[in-house]
Amino acid sequence: MESADRALLERKVRKAFQVLVLQRGRNPGVKGWEMKRYLGRDYRKIVDVLSEDISGLGLEVFEVKGADGTDDASRFLLRFKEPPTVSEAETSGIRIDDLAVLAATIAFINSKQGRAARREVEQFLREKFPKWRIEYSLDRYVKRGYLEQDDRTMLHVGWRTRAEVDEKTLMTLILSRAQEAPKK
């Protein structure tokens, strides 16, 4: 690769990192059409190079497919390559109870084929959590994009869950942990 091409690539990779790391708007991440505008039509190649570069820092560029499945509707964001530890999650100010509510809700929604009435979710969670915490947590997670609530008050898994949570791993862990429970 010629030095001019290399310099251009490096500049574009730097630009891609800046675009992805700085929050613009309410939700994190950058849409595909924005990436095209900032980096040009070959933005996917730039994203691949960037993803490799930041791998050493424990980060990766992750793509969340949009509703229509097109490149333009996809959302690109930087995320941790490996999950944090529980103590790291705790030090970031997130309550254990809140995360447990989210974990149980995602599992419940997935068990209902991806959609569940909010009242059913609340009823399910009430066995483990107080009512006020359930309502507060669900509202908060809807607001932050982890859950979606439609006009029929049906809850779905939100785009942020699809971006941050490996749902398959979560379901497997829940199942395997439950199997360990009787041994205790």
Binding site: L22, P28, T85, A100, Q113, A117, F124, V165, D166, K168
Partner: protein, 252 residues
């Protein structure tokens, strides 16, 4: 007869909506049967409202087909686990184990939520060019931001709030009302000026203040309780006067 036929369609709509607003299995709705029902009834519809109900039923059925599609996709995905099994296991797990499962499958988004030098510069330029509040709304609200002040009788007349004759008549009526209600006793000031409309309450307080200034009524305050009493005087009072400020709050 017509209502009975429409009732069938309304039942279809109701069934679809109940499935849409719950996590019931969308395959519980027999789409083929419902479509055949709509098809058989279609030639009978003559009025617009009947056709609208028919199209609404068809729309609801398409929503169910969409749900069936999502249901199948989810079921075919690796995320499908028997609902009862997963619900039972979630119930068995302690909160800590649920949290641990979540954290182990969590890849938090890494993002800097702070202003950039460019953003800071834009904010500075915006602030520098921003007109003061008093000037910004001058055209829309000419007296916006003017501090509360006093409006005297002449000003109210010049503003057309009332004419001199209306004012005099209002004073006379209020004095008579106060004479009648107080009957030589002290009565509660707030109760006397009370009115459902805030504007009327203010007007009564304003007129009463004139009666008191003219010596045709008197005012007594209780500093400990904060209550204010008033009474009508048949003859003009003499002696030193004292100024009292009473606030009238809207909505009380």
């Amino acid at each position: 007869m017509e209502e009975g036929r429409l009732e069938e369609l309304l039942r279809v709509i109701e069934l679809c909506r109940s499935v849409e607003s719950s996590s019931a299995n969308p395959f519980d709705v027999d789409i083929k049967e419902k479509i055949l029902l709509l098809k058989s009834r279609l030639p009978e519809w003559r009025f617009l409202n009947e056709l609208l109900v028919d199209s609404e039923a068809l729309l609801e059925l398409t929503q169910i087909v969409k749900l069936q599609d999502e249901w199948l996709k989810h079921r075919a995905s690796s995320l499908y686990i028997d609902p009862l099994l997963i619900q039972l296991k979630v119930k068995l797990l302690p909160k800590e184990a649920l949290t641990e499962a979540f954290v182990k499958s969590w890849h938090p988004v890494a993002q800097v939520d702070q202003i950039s030098p460019k953003g800071l510069e834009r904010a500075f330029v915006y602030w520098r060019d921003l007109a003061p509040m008093a000037e910004r709304f001058k055209d829309e609200f000419s007296n916006y931001g003017v501090k509360p002040g006093s409006v005297d009788y002449e000003e109210l007349v010049s503003l057309g709030v009332f004419t001199p004759s209306q004012f005099e008549q209002g004073l006379k009526d209020l004095h008579e009302e106060l004479l009648e209600k107080s009957n030589g006793e002290w009565i509660d000031y707030m109760e006397f000026i009370e009115s459902p409309e805030f504007e009327t309450r203010v007007l009564r307080a304003y007129l009463l203040s004139f009666l008191i200034s003219e010596g045709r009524a008197s005012l007594r305050t209780e500093p400990l309780t904060g209550r204010v009493w008033t009474t009508a005087l048949s003859e003009k009072a003499k002696g030193p006067s004292k100024s009292v400020a009473i606030s009238i709050v809207g909505g009380t």
